[in-house]
Symmetry: C2
Subunit: 487 residues, 2 copies
C-alpha cells in the first residue's frame, strides 16, 4: 500500500517560499500555511480529535477552512464538509448519519450550528468554534498519508430522500489531482481561483491540488463576478466555475478581453448552455468543459484545451487514470459507467446503495450520455432526475419528502424547470388531501430545506403520472414543464 | 492494488494526433505509435512471448526500441534492456542471471548477440532479430497495467564483481514520471530529447513520460552535440544529459544563446563540475541538476528551476513522493537514504543484496552527501567506489574481477582518476605474481569488459592498502590518485 509524506508538510519542505494561499487579506507562503496548520493540529489534538474521527465542518470559504482541512488530515481525522446552506434539521441528519464526532463551525454559523435539533446532546462538548487567528508555529511533525485511508466524506445524490456520504480516500484525491495535471498541464506560475464553495468537491479539490502541485489557491468567500474578473486581471491562470457564474462574469466584463495569462476556465456543474459556449469561443475565453462527480473526487472527463472549439458542448475525454464507457441498451445513448483510482469505494453505512452503483467492477453514474465517433463524451442529463440550480444539486426525492411531511399533501413529484438565472429551479406537482396555500406550503419547506431546494412553483394536480409498478414518472412531468416553458 | 489502462493505449485514445515520437526520419503521432505497437505485440505473442517472460533487448536508440518497449509491456513481458557496449561474455552473464527467455536484437548487434558464449544453446530459437519496418495495425486490445507488476529489470551497481538486476514495477516508473512533472511542470508543447542510451533508466524514463504526459520524445541514435543543438533550435524544451555531453554542446554552440523554448537541461550522471554550472548560469542555460538512481526509476532529487542559480552545485530537493534523509555518524556528511513509491523492492535473486540496501524501511544508496540549512541536497560521491566515465557507471569490483582472472595478477584495486574528457577513467593498481606487460593485461581486459571499463592506466605496486580485516581501502588509492593529478 502506497504511503506518501503529509502533502503540505512535504510541499512546505520543497518550496517553502512559493505563495500557497490568497484568502481575504491573507497571503501565505507554503511555509506559513504549514506553520498555521501545525498549530491548528496541536489545538485539535488537545481537544481530543484524533485518528479516524469524523469531523464535520460548517465554515464559509476562507483561510480557516483551508487551515482546518489540512490540520484535520494531519491529526488523522476524516473531514466531513457540510453545505453551509443546509437547515439545522438537515445538519442534524447528516451529523447523525456520518457518526460525526465533532462539528467545527465559524462565527458566521454559530446560530445555525446551535439550532440543529439535538446537536448539543449529540456532540456534547464537541461543538467547537474555531478561532481563525492562529499564531505561527514551527513544524516538527513527520506525518504520512496512506493512500488507502479515508480523507473525507462528501454528501451527494440521494434518490431515496436523503443524500449519501461518499468516502474519498487520500488516493482518490491524489489520483484526481494527478489526472487533472496530466490533462491541463502544470505551470510553475499557476494560480487557481476557488469561488465555488469549499464544501463541494470542486472547491475542496483545488485546495489539495495547490499543495500537491505547489501552486497558489486564491479563495473567494463567495462568488462575485467583478472580484473574479479582477483576480483574473491580477494573475489567476485557472478558475473553476459553473455556467451561471461564467455568464455573470461575461456580462460584467463587457467587451474587455481576458488577459492571455488566463489559460483555463474549468466549467462544471452539468451540461453548459450552447449559447454560452459559443460566446466564449467567439471571445477567446479558454473554456474546458468538464463532467465531474463527487464520487470521483471531481473531474471524470474534461475537454482538453486543444479541442475546446472543435468539440463544443462535449465534456471531452476521461482523465488519464480513468476509464469510461457507455452502457447502452439500444441506440448511441446510454448510462455513463467509469472505473479508476479516483473513485470512491462506497457510501457510509449504505452497502445496498454502494452495490447499486458498483456493478461488474464499474461505477454506474446514473448519468446519460454518448461518445462521438472520436470518443468524445457528451453528457445529456446530469442525472435522470437531478436538478442543478445555480450549481447546487437539488435531489427531487428530498424535496418530495419534505412536501410529503405536510399533512395536506397526498402525493407529489418534483422536477427541474429551466430558469434564466439559476439554470434550473425545482417545481413541485402536488396532489392535496386537504386545503393549503402555496405560500404556506413553501414556508413549511423553508423550515426543512435549504433555500435553493424550495420549489419555485407549486402546481396543483388531480393525479401524478406513474408506471405500471406505481413508480412516479418524473420524465413525464419534465416533458410537461418543458412544454410549458416553450409555449 | 491500483490498475491503470495500458498507458500508450490510453494516451492514443485521449490525444491520438499529438506527436509522440521523432526518431531518425520518423515522426509518429500517438495513434501511429499505438498501431505499430499493436502490430509488434501480435508478432511477439506469435513468437511465444507472454505474461511474465523476461525479454532482453540489445538495440540501438531508435524507433524499434520505443516500439518494442511498449509492445513487450502490452504482451505482459518484463523488459531487460542490455547495455549495447557490453561484451558477448557480459551479455551471456546477464542473460543467465536474469533468466531471460528471449534476446531481441537489431541488425547492428547481430554479431555481438551471436558471439555471446552459450547464447544459442541458452536461448535456442529465441534469438530474434527485429524488423523495424512494422506495418500499421488497428488497435483493438484492452490491456491493463497493475502498478505492482514488474515492468523492467535494469542492471546496476555491484560491489561484488557483477551488476545486480533491479526490478522496477509499473508503479515505480509511474510515480517517477508524476514526481518529475510535479517538480519540472508539464507544458502541452513539451518535447523531451533523449540522447542518453535508452537502455539506461535516464533514457527509458523519457519514453514512459512521453506516453504518460502526452508529449513528444525525440530520440537520437547517439549523442552528437551539433544535432542536439539543432534540435533545441527546432523546439526541444527539455533535454537529459550528463556533464560531458553538456560541455561538448556548449563548446559547439559558441556564443549563440539557446532559444527561450529550452526550459530545462536535466543534468544527471553524478555531481557536475562547478565551472560547467557557472558557465551555464552565465549563459542563461536552464540547468536542473539531478541526483538519480536506477533503483529509484531515475530522479531522486532535482534542483527546481527557480533555485538553479541560488543553489549552484546542489541536486535540489527530493521529488514530491520521495523522502530523503542523511544517515550520519558524525559531522554533516552521511549516507543518503530514501524511501517512496519510485523505489525498487529489490534485486533479482539477490535477497542478501536487497536486505543490505533495504534496512529499517529505508533504501540505503551507499552515496555520500549532506543537506544544507535549507534542506538542499549536495552529493559528494556518486558512490563511495563508483567510477563514472562519460556518464557510464564503472564498478571497480567488476574491473578488479576481470584483472584477477589473469594468472599473473595477484591482487588489484581499481579507482577513478579525474579525466578532462570523460570526467573519470578507471585506474588499476596491480600486484603481480608473474611478469605481464601493461598492454597485454589491457588486451586481456578488452576480451571481458566493455571498452569504457578497461583501465586507462595500470600502476604496478608491491602491496595494496587494506584495513585490519583485510578489506581493500579504495579510499587510500583514490587519495593517491588525486594527489598525483594535483601535482
Amino acid at each position: 500500500m502506497t504511503v506518501l509524506p503529509d502533502w503540505l508538510q512535504q510541499r512546505a519542505a520543497l518550496t517553502p517560499d512559493r505563495l500557497a494561499l490568497m484568502a481575504g487579506g491573507e497571503r501565505w507562503s507554503f511555509q506559513e500555511l504549514d506553520e498555521r496548520v501545525t498549530h491548528a493540529t496541536h489545538t485539535l489534538k488537545a481537544q481530543g480529535i484524533g485518528e479516524g474521527d469524523r469531523v464535520a465542518l460548517l465554515l464559509k470559504n476562507g483561510a480557516p477552512f483551508v487551515t482546518l482541512t489540512h490540520a484535520l488530515s494531519r491529526a488523522g481525522a476524516v473531514i466531513v464538509p457540510l453545505n453551509t446552506r443546509l437547515t439545522p434539521a438537515e445538519i442534524q441528519w447528516q451529523l447523525t448519519d456520518v457518526h460525526a464526532g465533532r462539528l467545527l463551525y465559524d462565527e458566521a454559523h454559530t446560530s445555525t450550528a446551535h439550532a440543529a435539533p439535538g446537536v448539543e446532546s449529540l456532540l456534547a462538548t464537541a461543538v467547537t468554534r474555531i478561532n481563525p487567528q492562529s499564531p505561527r508555529f514551527a513544524s516538527n511533525l513527520s506525518i504520512h498519508f496512506p493512500l488507502a485511508s479515508p480523507h473525507s466524506i462528501l454528501y451527494t445524490s440521494g434518490t431515496t430522500g436523503h443524500p449519501k456520504g461518499a468516502v474519498l480516500t487520500f488516493g482518490n484525491h491524489w489520483w484526481s489531482a494527478v489526472g487533472s495535471a496530466l490533462n491541463l498541464g502544470l505551470h510553475e506560475n499557476d494560480r487557481w481561483l476557488v469561488c465555488l464553495p469549499l464544501f463541494h468537491v470542486g472547491g475542496l479539490a483545488i485546495l489539495l491540488r495547490s499543495v500537491i502541485y505547489g501552486i497558489t489557491a486564491e479563495v473567494h468567500e463567495a462568488f462575485d463576478p467583478l472580484a473574479v474578473n479582477r483576480a483574473i486581471d491580477e494573475g489567476v491562470t485557472i478558475v473553476s466555475v459553473v455556467s451561471v457564474m461564467l455568464r455573470r462574469m461575461l456580462e460584467a466584463r463587457g467587451d474587455q478581453p481576458y488577459p492571455p495569462t488566463l489559460r483555463c476556465v474549468l466549467l462544471g456543474g452539468g451540461p453548459a448552455p450552447r449559447d454560452l459556449l459559443e460566446t466564449c469561443a467567439q471571445c477567446g475565453v479558454p473554456v474546458a468543459q468538464t463532467y465531474g462527480l463527487t464520487e470521483a473526487a471531481s473531474q471524470v472527463a474534461t475537454l482538453a484545451p486543444e479541442d475546446a472549439l472543435r468539440k463544443l458542448g462535449s465534456a471531452g475525454k476521461p482523465l488519464f487514470p480513468t476509464e469510461l464507457r457507455i452502457e447502452r441498451d439500444e441506440g448511441e445513448v446510454g448510462e455513463i459507467v467509469i472505473r479508476g483510482p479516483t473513485l470512491t469505494s462506497g457510501y457510509v453505512d449504505q452497502p445496498e446503495a454502494t452495490a447499486q452503483v458498483w456493478r461488474d467492477g464499474w461505477f454506474h453514474t446514473g448519468d446519460l450520455g454518448y461518445l462521438d465517433e472520436e470518443g468524445y463524451l457528451y453528457v445529456l442529463d446530469r442525472r435522470a432526475d437531478l436538478i442543478i440550480s445555480g450549481g447546487e444539486n437539488v435531489y427531487p426525492a428530498e424535496v418530495e419528502a419534505a412536501l410529503l411531511a405536510h399533512p395536506a399533501v397526498e402525493e407529489t413529484g418534483v422536477v427541474g424547470a429551466p430558469d434564466e438565472r439559476w439554470g434550473q429551479v425545482p417545481v413541485a406537482f402536488v396532489k392535496l388531501r386537504a386545503a393549503v396555500s402555496e405560500s404556506d406550503l413553501k414556508q413549511f419547506c423553508a423550515e426543512r430545506l435549504a433555500r435553493y431546494k424550495i420549489p419555485a412553483r407549486i402546481q396543483w394536480v388531480e393525479s401524478l403520472p406513474r408506471n405500471a409498478a406505481g413508480k412516479l414518472l418524473r420524465r413525464a412531468l419534465r416533458e410537461w414543464v418543458d412544454s410549458q416553458s416553450a409555449s
